[in-house]
């Protein structure tokens, strides 16, 4: 018994030590700033001059953004980069923006292809550094419509280089789903004949897809922006998704799982990215994807550099390479999105590619709601109500899935 008591005392002492260590430090960043909710941007210096490469660069990217020929020998914009710069590319595919934010917080990665619902969180969290665009020669060729936007810059200071943009599409099995759907109603129909074979994106941000659908089907809710939802609007969206849950076979965030599910026929209808459709079609699955008539949620991605980057020179070289006309065209065609570099439009294999994807068509992208982090200050400018913030979205998403 005596020994047991001693061990317990030692354990408690260790616990107290850990507590003390945990409580000290980190009391910065309380002064009001220009960001949402009075947040200020942590002061981080941008790189002044470009040095020689460190031999490696660790990349977090969406599936299909970093291809070295291992998926398809013809799809490769990494090997040349490695040869030219001597920077070996280690890439990690993330399935959701939330995963990207958590991964960036580890400090193990140098660059990330962040969407709008991750970029601001990374900037205000001090996880990414401002970017010196003078060190990125290809930046001058990026469409002006993508530069210095609310999701990739703060007070005129760019925090990354635009990569490209696109819309979340609706994919279906052409041999099963007849007639072909035209609207998001297909996935929200409570009496769908495809019960148990519908799929949806497994992230709280998917609530915005329901809100977008409600914008056209229930205009009296007054939703102006699917990322700015007050209590009533939010409840309508989550109710719609709770009803949809009965129709869902499985949710996806791993793109390989979705390809396999559509190929086998476990899923026949649901949200997708163009690249997933391409992979499924390459696998001989009879699927099609399209932009439904309500418009869609989408993304405008930005390559950002970690504030804790151990390979900043290789990171800058990567950011310059990935938006070079040739690479940007290759990524855009492979992933199925509009490129960011205007010169990329001459490099695509399909000469009409930029027209098909509306690369320079700002009016088209008015219909696409880029992923944005919902915050308590309504993003649509309303000041008389508070909106549900992302943590409320996250908890609601758990509840929806049941």
């Amino acid at each position: 018994m005596r020994h047991k008591g001693k061990a317990l005392a030692a354990a408690m002492a260790a616990g107290v030590l850990i507590l003390a260590a945990g409580c000290s430090g980190n009391d910065s960043g309380n002064e009001a700033g220009s960001g949402p909710g009075g947040l200020s941007v942590p002061k981080i210096d941008k790189m002044a001059t470009l040095g020689t490469g460190e031999g490696t660069v660790n990349v977090i990217a969406w599936a299909g953004y970093v291809e070295d020929g291992s998926t398809d020998p013809k799809v490769d914009w990494v090997s040349d980069f490695e040869k030219e710069t001597g920077c070996k590319v280690n890439s990690k595919v993330a399935g959701t923006s939330d995963e990207m934010v958590s991964l960036m917080k580890t400090g193990e990665y140098d660059v990330v292809s962040a969407s709008g619902d991750a970029s601001l969180r990374l900037i205000y969290g001090g996880d990414v550094a401002p970017v010196n665009t003078d060190l990125i020669p290809n930046y001058k060729d990026v469409f002006e419509g993508l530069k210095n936007k609310q999701w990739n810059s703060v007070d005129g200071q760019p925090y990354g280089v635009p990569h490209g943009r696109g819309a979340n599409l609706l994919m279906y099995r052409t041999d099963v789903v007849k007639p072909a759907p035209t609207s998001w109603a297909a996935v929200f129909d409570a009496n769908s004949p495809y019960q148990g074979k519908i799929t949806a994106y497994d992230s709280p941000i998917y609530i915005a897809d329901a809100a977008l659908y409600l914008m056209t089907t229930q205009p009296d809710l007054g939703i102006k922006n699917p990322y700015a939802l007050d209590d009533t609007q939010f409840k309508a969206a989550t109710d719609l998704l709770t009803a949809q849950n009965k129709m869902i076979g499985e949710y996806w965030s791993d793109y390989t799982k979705e390809v396999q599910a559509f190929k086998a026929g476990n899923s026949v209808l649901g949200t997708t990215w163009q690249v997933i459709t391409n992979l499924a079609q390459a696998d001989k699955a009879p699927v099609e994807a399209f932009l439904p008539n309500e418009g869609a949620t989408g993304w405008s991605d930005t390559w950002m550099i970690s504030s804790k980057s151990k390979h900043p020179n290789c990171a800058y070289m990567w950011m310059n390479h990935i938006i070079s006309p040739k690479s940007n065209a290759a990524v855009a065609e492979w992933f199925g999105e509009a490129p960011a570099n205007k010169l990329a439009c001459q490099q695509t294999a399909d000469k009409n590619f930029c027209a098909t994807y509306h690369a320079d068509d700002e009016a088209y992208y008015q219909k696409v709601w880029y992923w944005t982090t919902p915050i308590a200050q309504c993003l649509d400018g309303r000041t008389n109500v508070t909106c549900k913030d992302y943590s409320a979205w996250t908890q609601a998403w758990t509840t929806i899935k049941g």
């Binding site: 995963e99 148990g196 915050i375």
Partner: protein, 282 residues
Amino acid sequence: MRSFLHRHPGVRLAGLLSAPLLWLVVAYLGALAVLLVSAFWAVNTFTGEVVREFSLQNFRTILTEDVYRNVTLRSVGVAAAVTVICVVLAVPMALYMAKVASPRSRHWLVIAILTPLWASYLVKAYAWRVLLANGGPVDWLLGGPGRGPGYGLFATIIVLSYLWLPYMILPIYAGLERLPDSLLEASADLGARGSRTFRAIVLPILVPSIFAGSIFTFSLSLGDYITVQIVGGKTQLIGNLVYANIGAANNLPFAAALAVIPVLIMVIYLVAVRRSGALEEL
């Protein structure tokens, strides 16, 4: 030095035990302590930075929202079902291995039980995803596409039972192997029938072994989140909620609060097992 240690057995013992004790206290209990402490913190909802201020909000959310109770009950149900299936399959197999099979084939049977453990967990789970796919082998055996169970709760239970079965067979086999054949013979010589021998001789050895195995299968199932992601369809278990709160929501404090649930369940389970006297038999 040697004579000093010889004269001071206390120092000798301390030197010998300090490394494992350090491991136990710092790495093992320390990690649990950090988990418990961070469960009372919160995160800044926008930047995701941990705010180190004491609050009971996480636990209040878990206790008041229905979804967490449902998921907890579902997880315990899955763990219990997996354990029961493993017991039903493992007892006859272990009995055969320990008492019926010839020593030569016993060797091979043990190897056969262990072989699946050499393959990666993920490979086995994905193999089951293919087996259970629409129009896959299981559907085909049951008469065509869509006839099988498909992905969902049932598939999760099957695959977890498959994965953890060796952890149930081995303790039962080890327990039965300790049972001398002479005891069984003596029982028969004294006129006991098969059922009486089973009750009086085999069962007292069997029960503690089953409890030992059940600790493995129950706790492994309770914490699992990968199998259910692969074959579980839209099913959520506690593990998924923890994973979603760390991976997706980046809310470590809330994940820590959720992780306290399986810890409590396991503590209750272990206390119950201890009450039954099974732990002394291990």
